[in-house]
């Protein structure tokens, strides 16, 4: 499974890419592979407040609806609109065009509590 070196990871299989005070959030290659056949994405609303460890979005495969937990606290500043017509982007490009939402970090020190790529690789075996 692909685990890019430039990201931080949550134990619940989300990644975050930080650029200044904004983080882009998605689910990992491992997560999309486990879910398979993603057919619908319910993103948070722009302007919504998300909290670390709390459900922020729902990703639905054919079989099940799965909560996606925000890795950090913050305000949602953008959601990936292309997922509404092409939810399978989460399967085909989980770290690129399949991102879920962007969040303005309320508490950047929370990033330190997330996993490094090596720690996440160890978690998923």
């Amino acid at each position: 499974m692909n685990v890019p070196d430039d990201l931080k990871y949550a134990e619940t299989h989300e990644w975050i890419r930080v650029d200044g005070d904004t983080g882009t959030v998605g689910i990992t290659d491992h997560a999309q592979n486990e879910l398979t056949d993603i057919v619908y994405v319910d993103p948070p609303k722009v302007g919504a407040t998300v909290s670390a460890g709390q459900p922020a979005a729902v990703v639905e495969s054919v079989k099940a609806a799965s909560d996606i937990y925000s890795p950090v606290d913050g305000e949602v500043v953008e959601v990936n609109e292309s997922l509404s017509s092409e939810p399978a982007l989460v399967n085909t490009a989980p770290y690129e065009n399949g991102w879920l939402y962007k969040v303005r970090l309320a508490n950047p020190s929370q990033l330190d509590a997330l996993k490094s790529p090596d720690d996440y690789r160890a978690q998923i075996g």
């Binding site: 398979t36 057919v39 619908y40 319910d42 639905e60 054919v62 079989k63 609806a65 509404s84």
Partner: protein, 363 residues
């Protein structure tokens, strides 16, 4: 808590990449590669499902016919030797203990194919009502079963067994693959196809032969979307001890003119008064998350029922569901809304089935 059970094909399926879930106490493949791919394989070519978790209960003896006529809701007199019939075990209230297929092996010998999660309950219900002159033989632990479904199934049957696939709702008992194989023209997908029942020792060879002939291994995920497109009920979801076959819209499988079967009085009374609800097929008419079981169904802002099953239909690429609604609302064309995580999405009551297969197994 009982240990999770596995079929004898578990290791072979794991080797093919099966992802497993617990289904009725069994660790079963939910998918191999993709539910959508497996679903499409069955609609356009052929798929094979391990259904060894299902129960095989033989009932035989000089009183077997008369006794089963009392135990089962459909009319066994209409099932000749070599035939299969969809029927119900009902409780005294007319509620569904199990839905099953009975195969008539001989005048006085019957095979009941029952749901995995209901084997113990069915057998104890049968034993509780048993009479002299009948033998109940639960062979679920020593038998395996496969369902091979799709337009290519007749060709696969010929390749593997060198004879023609049995016609719909009939079966043959064959000596093949160095053992006894019951091959039936039945299934749960709406496509043409067959189901095989045989002793566990044959499972590995038959599974391998079916794959070699070109069937795609499929899991319970596709089995569920396939049956839901056909509006075939799943016991435990769409059927329950608190719902009758009349409410489920399955009255044609109940012989109300047959005297003396368990549940008949309750069904006659319900027919007289009218069922309190009816199981309808629903199709989403606006873009929405896929509907799933236990979502509220609303009309004019009022909750009028809840979904019992739901999925994104891979064939239609639309959300589909079933729900029990009050009879006044259970009419094709009735618009409803389905509450999905607090948002209400438009849907419409449709005629069953929601999908008509090209290989036309549907009645």
């Amino acid at each position: 808590m009982e240990a999770v059970r596995r079929t004898v094909l578990f290791d072979q399926q794991k080797a093919l990449g099966a992802r497993c879930i617990n289904f009725g106490g069994w660790e079963m493949p939910v998918q191999f590669t993709s539910i959508i791919d497996e679903h499409r394989a069955v609609r356009t070519a052929c798929g094979v499902f391990d259904i060894s978790h299902m129960g095989e209960v033989f009932v035989s003896g000089p009183k077997a016919f008369d006794w089963l006529q009392r135990m089962l809701a459909n009319d066994l007199a209409k099932c000749p030797v070599g035939g299969g019939q969809y029927t119900f075990l009902l409780n005294d209230r007319g509620g569904v203990i199990d839905d099953l297929i009975v195969y008539r092996m001989a005048e006085d010998n019957f095979l009941l194919l029952v749901n995995a999660a209901r084997i113990e309950e069915d057998v104890s219900w049968l034993q509780k009502h048993a009479v002299d002159g009948t033998t109940i033989d639960n062979r679920s632990d020593t038998m395996s079963a496969l369902a091979v479904q799709g337009p290519d199934a007749p060709r696969i049957f010929r390749d593997v067994f060198q004879c023609e696939m049995p016609a719909r709702n009939t079966f043959v008992a064959m000596e093949k693959c160095r053992g006894a194989v019951i091959a039936a023209g039945t299934g749960y997908t709406g496509e043409t196809g067959f189901e095989l029942f045989f002793s566990n020792a044959l499972a590995g060879d038959i599974w391998a032969a079916i794959l070699k002939a070109g069937a795609k291994p499929c899991g319970l995920g596709a089995r569920d979307t396939l049956r839901l497109e056909m509006c075939y009920p799943l016991n435990g979801s769409d059927l329950s001890p608190d719902r009758t076959p009349l409410e489920a819209g399955l009255g044609i499988f109940v012989a109300l003119d047959k005297p003396g079967f368990i549940g008949r009085e309750a069904l006659l009374a319900q027919k007289e008064s009218g069922p309190p609800s009816k199981l309808v097929a629903l199709r989403m008419t606006e873009k929405s998350p896929p509907p799933r079981a236990h979502y509220p169904v609303l009309v004019d802002g009022q909750t009028v029922g809840e979904t019992t099953s739901g999925a994104l239909s891979p064939s239609l690429n639309e959300g589909i569901a079933m729900a029990y609604l009050p009879p006044s609302l259970a009419k094709p064309g009735q618009t409803v809304r389905i509450d999905i995580r607090g948002r209400h999405f438009a849907a419409v009551v449709e005629k069953k089935p929601l999908y008509r297969p090209s290989s036309a197994r549907a009645a």
